[in-house]
């Protein structure tokens, strides 16, 4: 738990918040309490002035009772702790607490200290120095005291009582003390509020971060971890679903791509490994079988030579020699096959290859009551192919067809024909790049079994992706966004965002803007951006004109393939045969046909049958 990214992030953010709020709170409380104290000080000062002024007249008349009464009345107000008047020597003359009257106040006492600290009585003091905050006893409330000296005036020493002489400067001191209990309470409350605010803020912040980290980081990481474990244990078919549109999504997508590449590589490795071990096996078997075969062949041919006068025996011996020679050829072809695991293209006749393929599976077909109808074009020209590989393709397809028919019998039709087709609808884009040479091919979305071309589209203020059909002229695009038919669409490279719209060019069919991209080493591909318009142009391919193809069609009356399964059949490891198949057959076939620059198409209807059409070009496209 403590090692989790989420937790670490929460701790980091919590600490930052704590420090920020703490510093803020400290200065806030400081200024708050300062302004509160200043306010109290101001009002205390005002109070002492009020006392001084209200007793002034009585003082002049020396009406001590009245002064006492006034001071008592004021001193009884809430919040005012004490109001005293001291004379010059420090005796308390008036006090709101009657018991204090007559007592002497020491010069070192709180109320006198400000003036007498320097051992010499000061005569005028600024207000700041006249106030003091102190506690009467430890643990009790704070108290603010303010002294205000009563200066000698003309009216004082000329008064009738002659209490003061003219030479005195200060006649006495008015000392007012005010309890700070209320103020302290307010300050404490303020502190409390800020602490509560800080704690709530930190908790809420942590929860929010925790939530988002869980959502944006933890969950995708968990999914990725699960996927890596799946791949680690060998399930290369596992793909991460729910891909987000953020960095994690990019990671997940590249992970999916990696597993896909891995599974393809494994497939190839598996295939070549299979071929290699088959080759070793064949070589071993050939050598082992050659010795006994030599015995048979030498003896029989020797006998044939020696019994020339016995025609009856000769016939039988000739059969033995002929059949042994045939075995010799079989062993030889087995070795040739092993040697040819590396593709070797030669001139070959498709009809011959088909005939060879059929001869291999013929027995199996007749056992399953399957009728094989051959519908071959007699005058097929030779074509440059790897005869072994192409034969493997036909055998695989016929075996698949017979599996689809099952034991109840049916018909497989094999036909070959020569076609001349324009590249439109036949050729497909194998590699497409944007003007900045970013790869546009998307291996994740396949259209017609081939990787599609992914572009970013902007329409009506919305953004999304469109997967374009790689087949020239087919336009089975997959739209990731809603496109308003009437509005124009912008196409761009998903990686760099460069526009793929051709400036100043309009679709000759509908007048919409035209998109373009480069097909690596095969010119420019152009097409109409409007949904539903099928105008496309690929000059480099069109220029080469019509091409001759040899088409082989293998159809069966078997169980067919459902519409949902149809796009998946060329994917490695996809099998409908359960434990019986490896799911490799059609993927390998696709690879072989693609290697020959051919195409393979499948049409199927459930319970009616399936037909595979393979077209191989007569001329190899450069």
């Amino acid at each position: 738990m403590f090692r989790k990214i989420g937790f670490k992030l929460i701790v980091a953010v919590g600490l930052t918040a704590l420090i920020t709020i703490g510093v803020f709170a400290y200065f806030n409380i400081q200024s708050h309490s300062n302004s509160l104290l200043a306010e109290v000080e101001r009002s205390a000062n005002q109070l002492s002035e009020t006392v001084k002024h209200s007793t002034r007249y009585d003082m002049l008349l020396n009406q001590r009772d009245r002064i006492n009464k006034i001071i008592n009345t004021i001193g009884q107000q809430p919040g005012i702790r004490d109001v005293r008047v001291l004379n010059k020597v420090g005796a308390i003359i008036y006090s709101s607490h009657a018991e204090d009257i007559g007592k002497m106040v020491d010069k070192k006492e709180e109320s006198c200290y400000a003036c007498h600290a320097a051992n010499k009585p000061l005569e005028r003091l600024p207000i700041k120095d006249r106030t003091r905050i102190f506690r009467t006893s430890p643990g009790s409330n704070r108290v603010m005291g303010i002294i205000s000296p009563i200066y000698n005036e003309k009216s004082c020493y000329e008064a009738d009582c002659h209490a003061h002489s003219k030479s005195q400067t200060v006649l006495g001191v008015l000392d007012v003390t005010i309890s700070l209990e209320e103020v302290d309470k307010q300050i404490k409350n303020g502190e409390m509020e800020i602490v509560i605010f800080a704690i709530t803020a930190i908790i809420v912040l942590s929860l929010l971060i925790g939530f988002f980290v869980k959502r944006w980081v933890d969950k995708p990481i968990k999914e990725l971890l699960y996927a890596t474990n799946q791949v680690g244990t060998g399930n290369l078919n596992y793909t991460i679903q729910n891909i987000r549109n953020d960095d994690m999504g990019v990671l997940a997508r590249s992970f999916n791509n990696m597993t896909k590449k891995l599974s393809e590589a494994r497939l190839q490795l598996f295939q070549s490994d299979k071929m290699a071990s088959l080759g070793r096996l064949a070589a071993g078997v050939a050598h082992e079988i050659n010795n006994p075969l030599t015995g048979v062949l030498t003896y029989s041919s020797f006998l044939l030579k020696r019994t020339q006068d016995n025609p009856e025996l000769q016939e039988d011996l000739k059969v033995i020699v002929r059949e042994t020679k045939r075995s010799r050829e079989i062993v030889k072809s087995l070795l040739d096959f092993a040697r040819q695991s590396v593709p070797k293209k030669n001139q070959a006749n498709i009809n011959e290859i088909l005939a060879n393929a059929i001869s291999v599976v013929e027995n199996q077909l007749s056992l399953n009551h399957i009728k094989l109808v051959k519908n071959l074009e007699p005058n097929l020209p030779d074509i440059t192919v790897d005869a072994n590989q192409i034969q493997q393709v036909y055998i695989n397809l016929i075996v698949n067809a017979s599996d689809a028919i099952g034991k109840d019998g049916g018909t497989i039709t094999v036909s070959s024909s020569l076609l001349s087709l324009s590249p439109y609808g036949i050729t497909h884009v194998k590699k497409a790049v944007c003007p900045k040479r970013h790869d546009l091919m998307d291996n994740e979305v396949k259209i017609g079994g081939m990787p599609s071309i992914k572009v970013k589209a902007r329409s009506n203020g919305e953004e999304g992706f469109i997967n374009l059909d790689p087949m020239y002229g087919k336009c089975r695009h997959q739209y990731g966004i809603e496109i308003d038919e009437k509005k124009e669409v912008q196409f761009a490279c998903p990686q760099c965002g460069i526009s793929l719209i051709e400036e100043g060019k309009k679709c000759p069919k509908c007048g919409s803007p035209v998109f373009y991209f480069e097909v690596t080493s095969n010119g420019m591909f152009e097409g109409c951006t409007k949904r539903g318009c099928d105008w496309q142009k690929w000059d480099a391919v069109d220029m080469s004109g019509k091409k001759d193809y040899i088409e082989v069609k293998i159809s069966d009356t078997g169980c067919g393939i459902s519409k949902e399964d149809l796009p998946k059949i060329f994917e490695p490891f996809y099998s409908t045969k359960g434990q019986k198949g490896t799911g490799l057959g059609l993927a390998v076939i696709w690879g072989i046909i693609d290697n020959h620059n051919g195409t393979i198409n499948v049409e199927s209807e459930l319970d009616k049958g399936t037909s595979f059409t393979i077209r191989l070009p007569m001329q190899q496209i450069k």
Binding site: A286, N290, G295, V296, L297, Y299, S301, K305, Q347
Partner: protein, 268 residues
């Protein structure tokens, strides 16, 4: 030298030794045999054989080690190797190392006797050559050796690399001297693949024998000498130039030419 034998057969399979012995005996040849090469090495040191037929793949001492012994002991007897298809490359190596021919297993009685027949003729030529060489060192009186820039597979076929990268293939004069005059030539088709050490030409001779010529290189045939079909004697008249058989695009000439003997070494 206690006994006189014509042929020594060496093979680890008794059935093959028996078969070869019987076939050769029927041809009137005296046959000695051994089912392991170690014994055979002792035998060749004691006795003189006209021809030795030896298998390549054998336990303990194999055909190559045996061949080395033959060469080391200056034994004149021509050695014919037999081998399974899987060791064609090894067979080519054995020709380089001094064997005169090899027969891929399984073989028929005729294939064996044809090879033995050529072997005997080869021995005769070598013998008369030895006679001549005591006075005169020129082999060309008996046969024309192949030109300096050619390569040969054993003594039978030659390969001559051309400027365009193609290779011309034919048979040596020495091979022609070991067979009767040719009456029919059977060639493969254009675009066929040939493999080094595998049969690529069938020559039918006046004595009714069928001789197959082993290809010196692997590759695809792009042209064959059509003139030979109408005028078979062209081969005998000019075996190294007008009497070529195939023009081939080699599949791996650099490697394969190393397996062949350069004809320039014959002229030292």
């Amino acid at each position: 030298m206690n006994k006189q034998f014509d042929i020594l057969v060496i093979d680890d399979e008794q059935v093959i030794v028996d078969a070869v012995s019987k076939i050769c005996a029927a041809e009137g040849l005296k046959v000695d045999s051994s089912i392991n090469a170690a014994d055979a090495i002792l035998k060749i040191k004691k006795n003189v054989y006209k021809i030795i037929i030896c298998d390549i793949m054998m336990p303990e001492v194999d055909g190559f080690q045996f061949l080395d012994e033959v060469v080391k002991n200056n034994i004149m007897s021509p050695v014919i190797m037999t081998t399974g298809f899987s060791t064609v490359e090894n067979a080519v190596r054995s020709l380089y190392n001094g064997a005169i021919d090899f027969i891929p297993k399984p073989f028929t009685a005729d294939e064996l006797t044809n090879s033995v027949y050529r072997g005997l003729r080869y021995l005769d030529i070598q013998k008369s050559l030895a006679k001549y060489s005591s006075g005169n060192n020129d082999a060309s009186i008996i046969y024309v050796p192949c030109p300096a820039k050619y390569y040969r597979l054993g003594y039978s076929s030659w390969a001559s690399p051309e400027n365009m990268g193609s290779i011309l293939i034919g048979v040596t004069d020495l091979f022609l001297k070991t067979i009767d005059p040719i009456i029919e030539i059977d060639l493969l088709k254009i675009d066929d693949e040939i493999i080094q050490g595998n049969s690529c030409i069938q020559l039918k001779t006046r004595d009714g024998l069928n001789h197959s010529v082993l290809s010196p290189v692997s590759g695809r045939i792009i042209e064959k000498n059509e003139m030979l079909l109408s005028e078979t004697s062209l081969v005998e008249k000019d075996p190294y130039f007008k009497g070529w058989f195939y023009r081939v695009i080699p599949s791996d000439s650099e490697y394969e030419l190393k397996q062949l003997t350069p004809c320039s070494s014959d002229r030292l």
